[in-house]
Amino acid sequence: MDEKNIKIVAFLCNWCSYGAADLAGVSRMQYPTDIRVIRIPCTGRLSPKFVLSAFREGADAIWVSG
């Protein structure tokens, strides 16, 4: 098991969590590098297809945040 290389696909809302991620970045906060962020216009844009598609392409976990 390669624990160093897990991939979490994060679907972040442009207005909420994406802003928080941006703020965390400019504030130079430290956080794990396992997440791969996908910006979506709103969590309402998220279709269940996206989640399954992410698993299909080999994601280890999904995180949806509004």
């Binding site: 098991m1 390669d2 624990e3 290389n5 897990i6 979490i8 207005w15 909420c16 969590s17 994406y18 802003g19 928080a20 991620a21 941006d22 703020l23 965390a24 504030s27 906060m29 430290q30 956080y31 794990p32 396992d34 997440i35 269940p48 989640v51 399954l52 698993f55 299909r56 392409e57 080999g58 994601a59 280890d60 976990a61 999904i62 995180w63 949806v64 945040s65 509004g66």
Partner: protein
């Protein structure tokens, strides 16, 4: 959504939902750490992954 995936046998911790305001950078960092730890404990996902070979 999480419920059906879990019902099918995908581990619950692999699918996460949360709500963070754009001012909550600290909460963002906390949630990333929490999810990352949970998933590291589970290890890599083998279910629902397409094998292209």
């Amino acid at each position: 959504m999480g419920n059906l995936l879990e019902h099918m046998g995908i581990e619950r911790d692999r699918i996460n939902f949360s709500w963070i305001s754009s001012a909550e950078a600290t909460k963002f960092v906390e949630v990333v750490k929490e999810i990352s730890n949970k998933v590291r404990a589970l290890g890599p996902n083998k279910k629902l992954v397409k094998d292209y070979n």
